[in-house]
Symmetry: C2
Subunit: 133 residues, 2 copies
Amino acid sequence: MEAKVIWHEGLRFVGYPHSGHAVLMDGSREAGGEDSAPRPTELLLLALGGCTGMDVVSILQKMRTPPRRFWIEISAERNEQHPKAVKRVHLTYVAEGVPEENLRRAAELSQERYCSVAHSLAAEISFSVRALP
Amino acid sequence: MEAKVIWHEGLRFVGYPHSGHAVLMDGSREAGGEDSAPRPTELLLLALGGCTGMDVVSILQKMRTPPRRFWIEISAERNEQHPKAVKRVHLTYVAEGVPEENLRRAAELSQERYCSVAHSLAAEISFSVRALP
């Protein structure tokens, strides 16, 4: 995989991934940026959620129990000192119209076998599920 | 840090980070998506580049040798089997108008001490620098 990240101005960068869909990043005002786009560490958490989310939706469809609605709540703890690495992440998978057992099994399969982003991280990842009617 | 990733349709997700700057993600057509937005694993690499890029620009400014132009080329190797984790990443820092020694020192400081995304990854990270006139 190849990608390029080009500095624009201030702390603003434009990322060009292989797919061609460019992504802006910027620092917070406290860090000297202009808060015009997400922080890199935020993208890291979104990447984790998107990765395992795509797995779970695909698996639930194969189980013939596609969700009506589905989202993932992400909560992360970072080091307080530099480097402020993400140390622990908890994911809550929430789905409407899916048997809880299927949702749990899909989340397990993603975390144990499929999610490339989860397996690229050094952080400890835990999860829970919430099946809504 | 809190974030939320909401399924939209197909494999398309919208990520809502703490800063409020929403980010779209989508799967490739081969994976059943519509390729309307970057892949999660792409975001992971861009996050790494943006994180260390912001460090390097800040450090070069403190050294009073800000770059005229600056970018990072990213090359990553993934597992071929599931989970297709990122195993190795090589970053090439390219700057115009910066002494090579300063660029190398800034990249080292980012990788060793500051870059929160680099220290959140399990992958082996290497780097090189290219100082252009």
